[in-house]
């Protein structure tokens, strides 16, 4: 096998906003570099590749108007009370893979992420994690998204502590996305280890019959959008991964498909040209049910409706997420009593307890996903509100 070259040029803008300073600090980073593998030692380098390697990439333009982005971040923090720390990273990147049996394929993308915290007047911390593709400015100025953050900050000022234990619960659509991503999405990914075959997972029931999932790199409105993955493999359309609760397909990179003895599914994704593509979700789409969210709450009777989760995490069979905002429900009605601060402490079988699915789905505004040391900005998850027979929480 000959050498494969993954090349990249990019321009990134960074905006750091600290509530203690009046102005945002902006920085710019221009990158050129790549990675070669297949000829003994692999090489990771900055700067241009050897003269014999083609095609050459041009220096990309700005991913956004950095000045405007700084003002938008400052305005967002001011709307939330002015206290907090926000960090914006926006990157325009062009990549090409050369030397595989596939035709060299160029990909241009613009991705961004806003992370950090906003502090409430009562000293609580509200995590901020928004990310996606394209120019960040329309999202930073998206009135609905910004208002939802302001509402969360205000709600947290009067929220009580979350109790521990197992309770019936309805997850709002974006919160359900966190759990679906952790419990099913990562389970459907083939191993990032080049020698491990996780094919034995096929046929395993990971959700109730109400749970069906597909992975679609071209899903409308999704954070990911690509027709070729970072291995240079063309997407042939959505991959049905979970049918009525059963894992029916895995998401593969070129390398994992080789180990498995199957075809790649255009899910080889890498944070940068310096990282080897590993099997990752693109946009995970959870099928909807037929019940409006208010009816899910009505059918639950008593329990919790969880509006927002953050810091989803899965390791082995453990699934965790921090409860940012929840509300108690009694006799099928929201009580207005808000809760915050607990931890959803679940296991891989949590989606088997889905008893009803909402009729509308939404993308989670946070498309950040870290795995095997690689953090992607653009892993979309769209899910409907889901009602669970019970969810386990830790106070």
């Amino acid at each position: 096998m000959g050498e494969t070259w993954h090349l990249e040029r990019s321009r990134s803008h960074f905006v750091l906003m600290d509530g203690t300073r009046p102005e945002a600090r902006t920085s710019r980073c221009d990158f050129e570099g790549g990675r070669s593998a297949g000829g003994g030692a692999s090489r990771v380098f900055s700067g241009p590749p050897p003269a014999s390697v083609h095609p050459r990439l041009r220096r990309p333009g700005d991913p956004t108007d950095a000045g405007e982005a700084g003002r938008a971040v400052r305005a967002l923090l001011a709307a939330c009370g002015g206290q907090g720390r926000l960090r914006l990273c926006s990157t325009r990147t062009e990549r090409v893979v050369v030397g595989t049996t596939l035709e060299p394929c160029r990909r241009t993308s613009v991705v961004w992420a806003l992370t950090g915290q906003v502090f409430t007047s009562g000293g609580r911390f509200v995590p901020v994690g928004w990310s996606g593709r394209g120019d960040c400015l329309p999202r930073l100025r998206d009135g609905e998204l910004c208002e939802s953050l302001v509402r969360t900050v205000r709600a947290l000022e009067r929220a009580g502590p979350c109790p521990g234990g197992a309770v019936p619960a309805v997850l709002a659509a974006t919160a359900a996305g966190v759990l679906v991503h952790e419990a099913a999405g990562h389970f459907a990914e083939a191993s990032p280890e080049p020698t491990a075959d996780l094919g034995h997972r096929l046929g395993v029931r990971i959700g109730s019959e109400l749970v069906s999932l597909e992975d679609d790199p071209l899903a409308e409105g999704g954070a990911a959008r690509y027709d070729h993955d970072d291995d240079g493999v063309a997407s042939l359309g959505p991959t049905l991964v979970v049918r009525q609760g059963v894992l029916v397909a895995q998401l593969h990179s070129l390398a994992s498909a080789r180990v498995f003895g199957g075809a790649p599914t255009a899910n080889g994704r890498a944070t940068s040209a310096w990282d080897a593509p590993i099997p990752r979700m693109s946009n995970l789409i959870c099928g909807t049910g037929s019940t409006p969210e208010e009816e899910l709450i009505d059918h639950m009777g008593s329990g919790l409706v969880i509006h927002q989760l953050s810091f989803g995490f899965s390791f082995g069979s453990d699934i965790e997420a921090r409860i940012v905002l929840a509300e108690t429900v009694e006799r099928g009605r929201r009580t207005g009593r808000l809760l915050s601060g607990g931890l959803l402490a679940e296991d891989r079988g949590v989606l088997r307890r889905v008893v009803e699915a909402g009729d509308r789905s939404a993308f989670n505004p946070n498309a950040l996903c870290g795995k095997a040391g690689q953090l992607l900005f653009d892993v979309g998850t769209r899910a409907p509100a889901l009602r669970f027979a019970e969810l386990r929480m830790r106070a």
Binding site: S10, L16, C29, R322, L343
Partner: protein, 347 residues
Amino acid sequence: MKAALEREWVRARTSPAVPPVLTGIRLEARSGRAGDCFEFGAPRRDPAALEDGARRELARLLPMLPASRRGQLAVEAGVVRWCLASPGGVVEETERPYLLETCAGSVLSLGDHESGGEPPWAGEVPLAGIDSGLPVVLGSSAVLALVAFFLEVAGNLGRKAAGPPSQSLSVLETGSSPYPPQHHPYTPRAEPAADRLLLDGGMWCAEEGTVDLSFLLFTRGERWLRPVAATNTFGRRNLVVQSTVPAARPPDALVVDSLIPRATPCPGTSVWEAELSLWRDGRVWSGPGPRRLELDAGRVLRCVAGTWEMPCPALDRDPIEGDACGLAPPLVTELTAADLKLPAERT
């Protein structure tokens, strides 16, 4: 544009299961009123020249390791060169060669020599059936990981949520590092950066720092394309942990060599992946591979009794942000092996 910083890092990294990785990165920064500009370019030095030395060290060390640890050996030979310039010319130019040898999260040796040390383990023993009353010692890397996790909880959820800090420890955030690729004691304007005392004797000291982008790009250059400190709240992530409380080294102990958090930073008990050793009969025995432990980082640190050693190089292995090298002493705790509730099976 005012000051200029230039840094070049070349290394050869070898480990048993994968082909060597040769890395060559050069990064320049200029600081101005409009902000800082960074640019990656071609390094002048070829890392291939370092490959033979790294391979030799790998071959020397492998036979000395217990079987369960061999796959986790890594040898890295590198050179870091940096140059600070002002409009008047070069202010400082430094070059530091180094050799780093790590195994399962423990630093075996770190220095500027061509050959490192020897692994501490005399062999491998099962941990089932060990004396449940054995004292628990935290190895340097375990200490660093627990402290970093504790600081993350405070940074993400507030100091009150993290609970009181250990009275036996002080923690310094610094730009300096024993690991040359992560050593960068400068501000974005290329001026010397001051250290910040975060914790001392059970008290919080400095306020949380603003994320230092220049520091992160220069010292974590291989992870440049991340939302800046997306998953942590550190201004800088080079930590020095110290204990002023003297304690005798126990002759026999269960040692937590290193820890990787397998949970999001939160108060209370979290899941960790641990590498364990046993001190017995005056020798060090390796446990049979990684174990799952459930630990409350804040509580474990509050159970620290003291140390008999100065801080030494240690690794905090963050699954997302990557390895951070710092300094920490091994610590004796008031915990016993029974408190760790060792699971019977390997993770």
